[in-house]
Amino acid sequence: MDLTINGIRRTVHSAPSRPLLSVLRDELDLTGAKYGCGEGQCGACTVLLDGAAVRSCVTSLSEAQGKHVTTIESLEQNGQLHPVQQAFIDADALQCGYCTAGMIMSSVSLLKKNSNPGPAEIKSALQGNICRCGTYPRIIEAVRMAAKLSTGGGPHA
């Protein structure tokens, strides 16, 4: 089965029903997306499918076929962090860091649709992502900072 992952065509040898998350992690060694629940409840496995955030643990390979899969590994380009990544560092929006990749991917997806979201819109867009360490307020702040960085003409604007 052929997939386009982070802009590169990859051939994988798994059953079409296999969750995208296991293929990314175990077959393609892209371990940025994490397993947290296996039922699409925690958001740690979030990746982008044609730019929209999906839970890769409940997305089958066949659903991903023919679409562009974007994972956290591709956000940094030429040593330059994506504005959302930079904002998560600047706002100290991480503790154990296990949810961070999913949070960042959901935030990237939100900012594609809404370049200047307010706190309520951020909460709503990230409601499916759990941070058990309770870093939520700083994550909201990070997304606000990222929005400003992006509209300020950063490399990914």
Binding site: S22, L30, Q41, C42, D92, Y98, I122, T135
Partner: protein, 687 residues
């Protein structure tokens, strides 16, 4: 190093061992040399024989010829940010940049013995220890330079990773001075550590040292590891707790190409060359379990007071106002976002296990016992870990992975499913707390009798000025396996105590904040109450229907806390609008990360206060999924305001735990304020 005391509330795991690896199978006999091996996770036994902390600098700190500084500590980073705060401690004393320092954490082969990362002990004990270690190294570097230059050491300065001679403008890097040799000098007891008031690096905001690795997805947690030839493991679990194996056939699983299946006593598991085969392989094992009836959540609180039967010896109360009440606390799950995971590898009779644990030396002990190995043949390493909150003290997953790897003859990674994490780990203890109290007309508490069943004895005593208070902890037979949790007993005891304080204040016809201040003899307790109420504007009139205000105060593990909350109750649903929490834990080490810990604890506390409870019956967990066990999410977020009370004159205490205890009682008291209904059971549910 300050004496480590066994943590008062540290909970033993009372449950039966997960497995008895029994002899009988030929491969296992070879391994064990026969004999019954009982696997049990009682770290307290290991604690009793803890070796003394090493006295030489070299055991803790190494400076390579390149100048790279490596620090060794047995503590584990599980998100509480000690990798950064301990790095700051070393940078401070060595007068060098944090970027030159690398911490090796929780590696039983390389780091000095450590009891474990729990009880908010890293900041009060390990940070001062590393301050001393690095200060001793600093003095040694100055001595080395003075000897080399044949000058008085007092004429030298140390700055920016170099020892400098201001008179000659000469300077030597740390690496040039040590030449990579082991620093064998003993750490002097009176070595001059930098006072907190002079800190330039410690005590200041610093981004997490590994933040970039995390935000780029490069940070390798245990679950991200892949060793050459590694297999993926899965344990075939019993149908219920205490179930006995009636019949098993692992042969059908073994028939699947690339699958190894193992049965050893009651342990059954599979390992596969492809993770896609795990479900099929586990399902192929034919197994029957014999289950036994067990109590469920419905009869839990009555059970705890009757197993064993314990009569409370109530003393007569003489007071103008007397009340009595009983409070309940449910079992809750830690729910770390990374379920337990371990990678195990055997090599010529030596066992190496990577696993996310808060107690690496305890896990080494468990592995050594399970496999009949001397401890020096077992190495446990703790990679970055997707949080713990007191939930990763035990080594079941490590033992299981090691058993599978032994059978497979290859490295095995075992990642528990979320359902396994919810079922086969352990829980924060449930509890019942009965209180009888009395107060004089003027609001002075004259009698206080406090009996806790099963939920633990930390913060059992009231921090208020009550001379003849009676407090007692009654151990019970817990229906579920229970253990440590972020502020476990302190949460239960503060919920009961501070709810009861509110009830007693109202019975004495006193305003709750004034009642607490009146009875707070300890100035530090009064200070946090005043800080919280002032910031909150406590005493403001209500402005809308359903609105309620509640407060609490307390003390545990060296930290004083007070909180005020504002809620709105609509259709029996509680919305928390605002929480102000004041916290004082002595001298502040890193204010930004301290706030992160406090806010994190408060948000986690919302779950236990409002919705988290393990539902169980007959040895089965009935809500072992995130879709059935609700944890706090973005939309549960109130406005949060943290007031830090900095006491530079006092030693620093940890902050990972105590802030969480404030949430439930303050909300419960606000619910009473809003509705007139007193809820005495956590989680607090109106309908």
């Amino acid at each position: 190093m300050p004496e480590f005391e066994i943590e008062v509330e540290r909970y033993e795991l009372h449950a039966d061992p997960s497995y008895s690896f029994t002899p009988g199978r030929r491969d296992f006999l070879k391994l064990m040399g026969g004999g019954l091996v009982v696997l049990l996770t009682l770290n307290s036994d290991a604690n009793a024989q803890q070796p003394p902390a090493p006295q030489d600098i070299g055991a803790w700190l190494h400076i390579a010829e390149s100048g790279a500084i490596t620090v060794y500590t047995g503590k584990a980073e599980v998100g509480q940010n000690i990798r950064t705060s301990l790095t700051q401690a070393v940078a401070e004393e060595l007068r060098t940049s944090v970027t030159r320092i690398q911490l090796v954490m929780g590696d039983t082969m390389l780091t000095p013995y450590d009891m474990g990362t729990f009880g908010s002990r890293t900041t009060p004990f390990m940070a001062p220890q590393l301050h001393k270690v690095a200060a001793a190294a600093r003095e040694m570097l100055i001595d080395l330079a003075a000897a080399q230059w044949k000058v008085d050491r007092a004429s030298l300065a140390i700055d920016d990773g170099r020892v400098k001679n201001p008179a000659t403008k000469a300077s030597l890097s740390f690496g040039e001075l040590t030449k990579g040799q082991k620093l064998t000098r003993t750490i002097a007891a009176d070595v001059r550590v930098t006072p907190a008031t002079e800190w330039k690096i410690a005590g200041h905001d610093l981004h997490k040292v590994n933040a970039r690795s995390i935000v780029t997805g490069k940070e390798k947690y245990t679950s991200d590891m892949k060793l050459p030839g590694m297999l993926y493991g899965r344990v075939v679990r019993p149908a219920a707790f205490q179930a006995k194996l009636a019949a098993v056939d692992v042969e059908p699983a073994k028939q699947i190409p690339g699958v190894v299946a193992v049965r050893d006593g009651d342990f059954i598991g599979v390992a596969c060359d492809d993770s896609a085969k795990l479900d099929q392989a586990a399902a192929a094992v034919k197994v029957e379990w014999k289950t036994t009836p067990q109590p469920g959540s419905k009869e839990l609180f009555a059970w705890l007071k009757t197993h064993p039967a314990a009569a409370i010896d109530w003393k007569p109360i003489e007071a103008d106002v007397q009340i009595e009440a009983s409070y309940n606390v449910a079992y809750i799950a830690h729910t770390p976002l990374e379920p337990r995971c371990a990678v195990a590898q055997w090599d010529d009779g030596r066992l190496t296990v990577w696993t996310g644990t808060q107690v690496p030396f305890g896990v080494r002990n468990e592995l050594a016992e399970a496999f009949g190995l001397p401890e020096d043949k077992v190495r446990v390493l703790v990679p970055p870990t997707g949080s713990g909150y007191g939930g990763k003290h035990s080594g079941e997953c490590a033992v299981e992975a090691a058993r599978l790897a032994k059978a497979a003859g290859k490295p095995v990674k075992l990642q528990w499913t979320r359902e396994e994490e919810f079922t086969w780990a352990y829980f924060r203890p449930a509890g019942v707390i009965d209180i009888r109290s009395g107060a004089r007309k003027d609001g002075v508490i004259s009698s206080w009798q406090f009996h806790n069943f099963n939920s633990g004895n930390a913060a059992l005593r009231s921090p208020y000025n009550i001379p003849n208070q009676i407090t007692e902890f009654h151990a019970a037979e817990s229906p579920l396996r229970q253990g440590s949790y972020r502020g476990l007993a302190a949460s239960a005891n503060h919920f009961a105590r501070e709810s009861h304080m509110d009830e007693l204040a109202r019975a004495a016809k006193m305003e709750p904040a004034a009642f607490r201040i009146k009875n707070a003899g300890e100035p530090r307790l009064r200070a946090v109450i005043e800080a919280a109420t002032e910031r909150f504007h406590w005493g403001q009139p209500k402005s809308r229907p359903g609105q309620g205000f509640g407060m609490m105060a307390g003390f545990d593990k060296g930290g004083f806390v007070a909180a005020c909350v504002e809620i709105t109750v609509v259709n029996n649903r509680v919305r928390v609008d605002r929480i102000v929490e004041a916290f004082e834990c002595g001298a502040i080490v890193n204010p930004d990360q301290l706030k992160n810990q406090i806010v994190g604890g408060m948000i986690m506390g919302l779950g236990g206060a409002l919705f988290e409870a393990i539902d169980f019956d007959n040895g089965r967990i009935l809500n072992p999924r995130l879709s059935r066990y609700r944890v706090p999410r973005f939309n549960d977020l109130p406005e949060i305001d943290v007031v830090l009370v900095d006491r530079k004159d006092l030693p620093s205490a940890g902050a990972g735990e105590t802030p969480i205890v404030a949430v439930a009682p303050a909300i419960g008291n606000a619910i009473f304020d809003a509705t007139g209904k007193r809820l005495r059971s956590m989680p607090l549910k109106l309908a």
